[in-house]
Amino acid sequence: MTQTAVDPITLDLIENALINARFEMDEVVRRAAMSPTIRVQHDEFPMICNERGQMIVGQFGSYIPEVIERFEGRIEEGDVVLLNDPYLCKGSISHCNDWLVILPIFHEGVHVGFASMFGHMMDVGGKVAGSQVNEALSIWEEGLRIPPVKIFEGGVLNETALQIILNNTRTPIVNRSDLMALIGGCRAAERRVVEICERFGRATFSAACDALLTRTRDAMVRLIHQYIPEERVSFTDWVDDDGLGNGPFKMVLTIWRDGDVCHVDWTGTSDQAPGSINFHINEGLCKLFFGIYMIMAFDPQILFNDGLYDVFEVTLPEGSLLNPRFPAPLSNRVNTHTRFFDCQSGALGQKAPDLAMAAGYGTSPAFVFSGTDEHGRYFQFVELLFGGIPGRPIADGLDGHSWWPMFRTTPSEYTESYYPVRIDHYIPVRDSGGAGLHRGGTGIEKLYVFTGPGEFTVHDDRALISPWGIGGGRAGGRSHKLLIKADGTEIELPSKVDAHPVQAGDRLVFRTAGAGGWGDPLERPAEEVLRDVNRGLVSRESSERDYGVVLDGNGVDERATGELRARMAQDRGEVPQFDYGVLPEGVTVG
């Protein structure tokens, strides 16, 4: 295609049109999907690419060239590619639950771009309901792996392939609907891109895509120069365990700047785990996460796109937790995924206070309950839970909120209407928000009361290693699971449990981790501590012990508080930049 200049206004118009199209994709998918994971918890991600497969707008890493290569150029109008094998797309999706569709976009017969989405399926087969197998030793146990296949070819659905795929899941109807929703989202993007080509011309669209890539790259270079130091800065955090009794697993991140380029080096990270917490991350995605983190702190309207690929250099040691060798199991990679972000905050925050966030609840806690109801029908309920949002430069962390964007809790009245379980309480966990000038968010506790038999699966982390605090802020509370049998017997559970049988009357206490605090708790206004105590979010003991705030019957005892705070400030010595809470034996801060 010949070079076409694009004037700045047209560029901004096309940018706006692409952003509108990207949100329309979300809207179509959320409304048409059937599973709560997509329609309520919004576990889906869109992207629109240029004809070379570079993401222009969207929210994940481009992998399209790698996938399309497999078809040796035979990609036609009306084709839709489906895949879910992380090892066949260099980790662009990182476990088999994510189904990825790619739709080439044509304008007047000319290939102009791609629309793509992936979404989290309820079940893709494998050993346990939900397909996130804590006990898996290889990806062969984690369900069906779909290589890139044309699920639509020239506009015709490959019903045979789809039948084979759906027959290997426990939730075929739901998956079918979710898959069609993802394709519907891509078709929406296709229509919009074609409209843009008609309005502005194909050559202008293509030139605008290039200009949008350059614009993001240039902005990123400025951010890197401002916020990434030339000297090396390292940060270490851990994933508790792999569900098989191994761990904790260390993650070490070192960043530095060399010219325009930000180096992201994960050397020192533990070897891959025997269990399923391995996070096979795509290099491009790794770059994107750094870009998004910095963009969000400074100008959320900057487009996230592949333009920032050139200005990051990533090292992911082969055979490590972040670059495992096939066929390592991957299904519970979300723990490692989230710890990746925690390391990012810890490393970036050391030299740039604007970027300093504490650690949050640190995973995506999940509860799966399945069985056969009294009519002999199979049921499977999956819900995600939330915890403490980190203490932040601008404010407290939120209590029991979602670290992941735009997720929502499933209404309990929905759950109770359809499944043999009741949720007796849903409360913040007192004192689980790390103390700080800006307090970390608290974790939450749900009490599930089973009203019929079945088996449950639990995914969580941060039961061992606390979410750390930053800049004087203290560590937050850890997660905890307790099963109380109908006869009153209490069974302590680890944070990762597969297919545990239950009977009517059994109860599960599901407690998620809180988040670390930000800044010095001794500087937190006493009235805010009092308010937290009144709300039951902070105990009176913590008020004195962690904040130096003395409360009497009516409120803050100003004099006693002033004295206590002065004494505490004197006694504690130098305040470390990070507070890790109580570390288990053998774990050292590096």
Binding site: E24, V40, M296, Q301, R392, H401, W404, F407, T409
Partner: protein, 683 residues
């Protein structure tokens, strides 16, 4: 009958009086009095009374739309509400469904609003219903009594009760309400199963609390208005416009104020659909562009599309409402260059009324959409019938600052600002059309609001929705919508069942029972038997899908309604909205009866068409910049344009509070109702 619609706007109060016997209509406009709105209203009644030679005592009905309830939420001026919930659920509003905004890391900069019932004013009561309405644990009446007493002593102004699974059985809520009335006789008490008897605990609780939160504010306002009316012996019924564009009595509005949250915008949409239907267009997009925001909505069959879920601020409200999409784009939207990328952006920050756009000469220096329109020459430097002069130099200076950073000349930058704000508004229009499976080409665009006429032609060209219809006086549109509205209310219940397991007789019986409530309500609103109608809506979805689609069932269709027919109707709508249907069965979620009481709508006066030549209305010319070239463009006075007049673009049509642009390649004609209809020139 003499019926009067009154719309209180930020600047003006518009009134419309309709004599249903003689079919005469009178219009009046008076300055609004924000300190005490009823002053302006009463002045307006006096003015229109003199015009029509009608004393206030002769009015039969006064129909009123208001933004008081919405503003109370946005400005945090509502009542202090005490909330009683089931044990274990005190934090429901605080945890707020755990939602944080996108994209990834959106939580870093998220400022979450405080719940509208304070955490400290929320109490738990032991006792639990199951989702099938059976009692899991009996209500602890002593604890309920203690909770009520505690909240009363803390000084709450209203009490609300929202217990788990109350949609399935209201028993516990009613018990708590009874205790509350005994323990705190001075406090108003509301319960969730009365306000919104549907499942999903968070939305039901927020809706119930919001109802109580806005209640005293709306009540004070309506009382002062009622008192003012009584003082001039205007004993007419005061009726309030609902969020769904219907009317209800003062008493109903007081008991369920949450149904008035979108009263203001609903009036405009209703009025636009009425005017357009009279002109022969029953599928329209409404486009209401003001100073800080733009509201768009879809009307089909001459009626606005109704949704049951909307948001006020960040709070979800479940109440029947006109489906309005609102975005932060208006005449006052500020244009700026982003630091990191150098991209030109417009809004959502607005210069508001103070300082306002640079051209207002009140100290504003940042370029706004209005300034760009001045620079382009689309907005001649006189507004409000010449009362406010515009500072053209200030507009140029503000846009010039943008232009120099972009390396463009001032006119190109101004055109860019207008193009970008148009693109943002186009996004909103797409949400209500293509995203709902509706082809824009089948719709006309009805433009109103102060800035609408400057952008409507360009937007229609982008979206392909012609003609553009600009009513003669957009200010009076809401008042007209009120007068054209029907008495309306909805009665609903949650009834979750697979369609294939549902007995048609039971479905009809349940809908019939709701219809009984609807009819009783209409009687209470003093609607004559012959004017009453009850239609039905069955909210349906595929099994366990997340969103329901309302499926309409007409009054006459109920006796023969089959589940197969209902399911097929649902399949068709689902396919239109989302592009596919599913083999899995349909599931019924909620049943509704929609009560409607007919009213006599006014006839809009018709004018016989005169000659096509508009030159008698030409007021002069003005210099317009298009594509970097200056050209003289004729200006016309809207007030002088007669029916049948035909104006070829490029042209500017001025009226005292709005300006309309007719673009090159387009023609505007004046229809018999004095609407301006803009369409592409026939080729």
């Amino acid at each position: 009958m003499l019926r009067m619609g009154i719309d209180v706007g930020g600047t003006f109060t518009d009134l419309l009086l309709h004599d249903t016997e003689s079919e005469e209509v009178w219009l009046a406009k008076t300055p609004s009095t924000p300190q005490n709105q009823s002053v302006g209203v009463l002045e307006g009644i006096a003015v229109i009374g003199r015009l029509a030679d009608v004393g206030p005592e002769r009015l039969d009905a006064i129909l009123h739309g208001t933004t008081v309830a919405t503003n109370a939420v946005l400005e945090k001026r509502g009542a202090r509400v005490g909330l009683i919930v089931s044990e274990g659920w005190r934090s429901m509003l605080h945890l707020a469904e755990a939602w944080t905004p996108g994209p990834l890391f959106g939580w870093m900069i998220y400022e979450k609003p405080e719940p509208i019932a304070d955490y400290e004013d929320t109490r738990e009561v032991p006792g639990r219903m199951a989702a099938d309405g059976t009692v899991v644990r009996a209500l602890d009446r002593d604890a309920a009594r203690a909770a009520v007493a505690d909240l009363r002593d803390r000084g709450v102004e209203a009490l609300t009760v929202s217990l788990m699974n109350a949609f399935a059985s209201p028993e516990h809520e009613r018990e708590v309400a009874e205790i509350a009335r005994a323990e705190a006789p001075g406090l108003s008490v509301s319960i969730s199963c009365d306000v919104m008897p549907e499942f999903r605990e968070y939305e039901r609780t927020v809706t119930t609390v919001m109802n109580a939160y806005v209640s005293p504010v709306l009540d004070r306002y309506l009382s002062s208005l009622r008192t003012g009316l009584d003082e001039v012996r205007a004993g007419a019924d005061l009726q309030v416009v609902r969020s769904d564009g219907g009317l209800m009595s003062l008493e109903s509005a007081r008991s369920i104020p949450v149904h008035t949250m979108l009263s203001g915008p609903a009036g405009g949409v209703k009025g636009a659909s009425f005017v357009a239907a009279a002109a022969g267009f029953d599928r329209i997009l409404t486009f209401d562009m003001g100073g800080t925001s733009t509201d768009v909505a879809t009307c089909s069959g001459g009626q606005p599309i109704i949704t049951r879920e909307t948001t006020v601020g960040e709070f979800p409200v479940r109440a029947p409402s006109v489906e309005v999409e609102s975005i932060g784009a208006g005449g006052g939207s500020i244009a700026y260059i982003a630091d990191m990328t150098g991209a030109l952006r417009v809004g959502p920050q607005s210069a508001g009324a103070d300082p306002g756009p640079a051209c207002y000469g009140r100290g504003g220096t940042q370029a706004t959409v209005t300034d760009a329109n001045v620079v382009l020459g689309h907005l001649p430097p006189r507004l409000l019938g010449g009362e406010i002069g515009l500072d053209v130099d200030a507009a140029h200076a503000s846009v010039d600052a943008i232009a120099s950073r972009l390396g463009l000349d001032v006119h190109a930058a101004a055109a860019g600002i207008v193009d970008i704000v148009n693109e943002n508004m186009l996004g909103a229009l797409r949400v209500v059309t293509v995203q709902k499976g509706l082809p824009p080409s089948e719709f006309a665009l009805v433009s109103f609001g102060g800035a609408g006429g400057l952008h409507a032609n360009a937007l229609a060209a982008l979206l392909g929705c012609f003609p553009v219809l600009v009513p003669p006086e957009s200010g009076v549109l809401s008042a007209l919508g009120f007068v054209a509205a029907e008495i309306k209310n909805e009665f609903s219940e949650t009834f979750i069942r697979d369609a294939e397991d549902t007995d048609a007789d039971e479905l009809r019986a349940r809908l019939g029972a709701l219809a009984g409530l609807a009819d009783e309500w209409l009687a209470g609103e003093r609607v004559a038997d012959a004017d009453r109608r009850v239609d039905y809506v069955v909210d349906t979805r595929y099994q366990r899908q997340g969103f329901e689609i309302p499926i309409d069932v007409g009054a006459g269709e109920l006796p023969d309604l089959t589940l197969e027919a209902l399911t097929e109707r649902f399949n068709v709508v689902h396919e239109r909205l989302y592009g596919f249907r599913l083999p899995s069965g349909a599931e019924i979620v909620s049943l509704r009866a929609v009560a409607q009481g007919g009213t006599r709508s006014p006839q809009i006066p018709r004018h016989d068409p005169g000659p096509a030549d508009p030159s008698a209305a030409q007021s002069g010319t003005h210099t317009v910049w298009a594509g970097g070239v200056a050209q003289e463009v004729p200006t016309y006075s809207r007030a002088q344009l007669h029916a049948g007049a035909r104006i070829e673009g490029y042209a500017i049509v001025e009226q005292y509070d709005a300006t309309t642009i007719v673009l090159p390649g387009h023609v505007a004609t004046v229809d018999p109702y004095l609407n301006l209809l803009i369409a592409p020139e026939a080729t």
